[in-house]
């Protein structure tokens, strides 16, 4: 009886020691599953303006439409300062139309260009310097 009790105690001690030693087998690292690829958020039909809401492509060098004629600002309705500003703009516009000096320069430049083209066709150039002896 005594021997049986000792054996039982030893057995229990062995089991407790084995549990305490903690021999744990390494586990492979857990890999998170790849998230599912979401589909591109596109609409099934292309975006089109609603009928009646289409916008017209404006031509870049045309002035904007001011709407009905009564929306236009009349010169007579302007203040003195505003009229002065408009007059300055008109004067600048007039000067852009050209001056006699500008027309002369254009004519001279044009004649020079025609002359150079003719010289090119004749296979000669720099006529103003060829054979000029001081």
């Amino acid at each position: 009886m005594r021997t049986a009790t000792l054996a039982a105690v030893l057995g229990c001690s062995f089991l407790i020691a084995a549990a305490a030693s903690g021999e744990v087998k390494p586990q492979p690292p857990s890999i998170a599953p790849a998230p599912a690829v979401l589909p591109e958020p596109t609409l099934e039909t292309p975006t089109m303006p609603a009928p009646g809401w289409e916008s017209v492509q404006k031509r870049p060098f045309e002035p904007y439409d001011i709407g009905p004629p009564e929306h236009a600002w009349r010169y007579e309705a302007l203040s003195a300062d505003e009229r002065a500003a408009v007059d300055r703009g008109r004067a600048a516009g007039e000067s852009k139309r050209g001056t006699p000096e500008m027309f002369t320069a254009i004519r001279e430049h044009s004649a020079r260009a025609r002359a150079q083209a003719a010289q090119h066709q004749l296979g000669v150039d720099a006529l103003e310097t060829i054979g000029v002896v001081p």
Binding site: A115, Q121, G123, I130, G131, V133
Partner: protein, 173 residues
């Protein structure tokens, strides 16, 4: 009297109208140039150009001969009116231009061409010059030949230019 004769001989001998000529060549061209005139060769945008001036150059004279193969389409066209029109228009780049009407000519050795006489102001020397510009078409229409006589006080007979026009031909001698 003897002095006067010597002086007259010296004046005649030193002038551009001297009869003493020598043969000059440029590429395939041959022509006569006064023996006293000195030659300078240079390249003008790929064109062979020869310029002559007298050693004593009181008139600021020069004679330039250029042979241009770049103008083959014009040379081959054989249209005198086109050549005259181009020659007239080509003078348009000259400052203070006064031009006489363009005329046509045929040289002694059968070169057809056009001729214009102009007066202009040189931007380089700021002085007025007179020039006779002649364009000749080589027989066969392979190239154009430019002959320019330019001077501040031109020889009224342009004897150097006339000598070249009388003598210019293809081939040696």
């Amino acid at each position: 009297m003897k002095r006067l004769v010597l002086l007259a001989a010296c004046v005649l001998g030193c002038g551009s109208g001297s009869d003493e000529r020598e043969t000059a060549t440029l590429d395939t061209l041959t022509f006569e140039i006064p023996a006293q005139w000195k030659r300078t060769d240079y390249q003008q945008r790929g064109l062979n150009t020869a310029q002559w001036s007298p050693a004593e150059n009181d008139r600021s004279e020069s004679l330039v001969v250029m042979r241009s193969q770049l103008a083959e389409p014009v040379a081959k066209s054989g249209k005198r009116a086109l050549l005259q029109d181009l020659l007239a228009r080509a003078q348009g780049s000259l400052v203070g231009l006064k031009a006489r009407p363009v005329s046509s000519l045929t040289s002694t050795h059968g070169f057809d061409g056009a001729r214009v006489e102009v007066e202009f102001r040189s931007p380089k020397t700021k002085q007025n010059y007179r020039r006779i510009h002649v364009v000749l078409v080589e027989p066969g229409g392979t190239s154009l030949v430019h002959v320019l006589y330019t001077a501040k006080k031109p020889d009224p007979n342009a004897s150097v230019l006339e000598s070249v026009l009388r003598s210019i031909r293809q081939g040696e001698g």
